[in-house]
Amino acid sequence: MRPDRAPWWLKAMAGGGLLFLHLPILLIFVYAFSSEAKTFVWPPPGFTLQWFGRAWARPDIWEALSLSLRVALIATLVALVLGTLCAAAVARTRFFGREAVSLLVVLPIALPGIITGISLRSAFSLADIPFSFWTIVLGHATFCIVVVYNNAVARFRRVSGNLIEASMDLGATYGQTLRHVILPNIATALLAGGMLAFALSFDEVIVTTFTAGQQATLPIWMLEELVRPRERPVTNVVAMVVVLVTLLPILGAYYLTRGTETVAGSGK
């Protein structure tokens, strides 16, 4: 079917749908500059840059940001290792229970986040594990594995099994094959998977509320501001920064996996 055959109303509905998806996010950008401090009045009575300075000077925001970045970093590293191992096993070999393993990997994200959250909380309470930095990482790594896994498994399938055999046929051991053939071929997929995992963790709030105790990641900080607003314009600024920070890894992952049959991101 050629592009020009689309009727106008279909174009309008598709285009309108895309606008519907994007306008609310763009609106945040406008509000971040609004000079009105108390209400969400539209149109903004004036524009100012003062809230950026105000947000910059808030130590609680910096603490939350730092916690979020550290959690996302560690959770991504754990997910990278576990997701890649799992993808290698599922894509490269046939074994009894393969389907069950892929289901197990997907489950933490297929079930509603609140289930994962309350489950972890129940487990922590039964095992008397106090909330800490590591309980947050534990939860995040669990649902980040699937993102890495999806990217890696697609790439492993694309890297023909013959490449590994060819390498060993030419004298390379498993270790040398891993270094000279497998890693160079899956590197971009892992990088993309890692970026998406990072974005997912950086943004996660539902599971985190159950595993964080008294600590606030940036999303938790935002959630508290939404429920009990203190300084609305500062929240606007943080919201805008969060959008920009998550945008970069997503775009990066997209460009890394462009042109392959499975593009990053379909796994969320």
Binding site: L21, C86, A123
Partner: protein, 316 residues
């Protein structure tokens, strides 16, 4: 050395790496175990263990006076689910999930259809990113954006006022059951935000299903005398249905488990997610929260069983 040794220098395979490699070649099971044990250990212990803990908690009960959790197995907590107030919550949530799902299909289909069957080249990439970016954008920011939009003095109210339709909005908000003080504290607001936030999850599987419909089928249908409407009804829709069902799994499941949207945008009426959150938090009634959390698992389990029959998993 053997006759097979060639004249070149000795390669690295004679070292420790070579011996380890020999072991892996002789015992492929060891290699598989090395790959599988760490992730299975993590997911098995951390995740399945936690799910099991959740299930276990739901069979505990709470002493209503002291607030102490009694760890003797009982079905009492599940019995509490059947109280009218709690049944109300379940019913309200399922209804909302169903409404959100239907609305998502309606909004998502044209986007998916255009992206899959008309957009080419740059436009295709644009549509792809156009769906992917909102999907991955911060969930809280999206919810917050709608708080701004739906607020009494926000852009929607301003739009109605500018068009001189302020009274229409007021009349709508006066309708009991769907209205409220402003859109941001009405069930309609909750509904809109749910649809908005889960919409990409509906677009992607429908698009994937539609991509797989060969053009020749549509042309054959037209060739056999079908109008575009008939072709849609008899050819495209049935083939897109697995994608729709796959998308509905997401929208349904996500709505069932969400507790943030109804808390920020909506009335004080509770949904399953919010109930779970509040019972385990302020009320400290973890057993009841756990039992409530089992409800979406059961609903989604039966939903998935039906969806599997309809072939929805091929479109994931």
């Amino acid at each position: 050395m053997s006759v097979l040794a060639d004249s070149g220098p000795r390669p690295a395979r004679e070292g420790v790496g070579g011996r380890l490699s020999d072991l892996l070649w002789r015992r492929p099971g060891v290699l598989l175990a090395l790959l599988l044990v760490p992730p299975l250990l993590w997911l098995g212990v951390v995740y399945l263990g936690s799910l099991f803990a959740l299930l276990l908690q739901s069979f505990f009960s709470i002493d209503e006076f002291s607030g102490v959790i009694d760890r003797t197995p009982t079905l009492k907590t599940y019995g509490e689910l059947l109280r009218p107030a709690n049944l109300d919550i379940i019913w309200r949530t399922v209804l909302m999930a169903a409404a959100v799902t239907v609305a998502s299909v309606a909004v998502a289909f044209p986007i998916a259809y255009y992206a899959a069957r008309h957009a080419r080249g740059r436009w295709k990439a644009l549509f792809y990113l156009g769906v992917m970016l909102p999907l991955w954008s911060s969930y809280l920011v999206k919810v917050y954006a709608w708080k701004l939009i739906l607020a009494k003095e926000g852009i929607v109210g301003w739009g109605f006022d500018s068009l001189g339709l302020g009274r229409v909005l007021e009349a709508f908000l006066a309708v009991p059951g769907i209205g409220g003080n402003s859109l941001s504290v009405s069930p309609t607001g909750t509904f809109i935000v749910f649809v908005y936030v889960w919409l990409p999850f509906m677009i992607l599987p429908i698009q994937a299903a539609l991509e797989r419909v060969p053009d020749s089928l549509v042309e054959a249908s037209g060739d056999l005398g079908a109008t575009p409407g008939q072709t849609f009804r008899h050819v495209i829709w049935p083939l897109a249905l697995p994608g729709v069902v796959a998308g509905s799994i997401f929208t349904f499941s996500l709505t069932l488990g969400d507790y943030i949207i109804p808390q920020i945008i909506g009335t004080s009426a509770r949904f399953i997610g919010l109930a779970v959150y509040q019972y385990q938090g302020t009320a400290g009634n973890v057993p009841l929260a756990a039992a409530f959390a089992v409800v979406p698992i059961v609903i989604m389990g039966s939903y998935l069983a039906v969806a599997k029959r309809l072939g929805a998993f091929d479109a994931l």
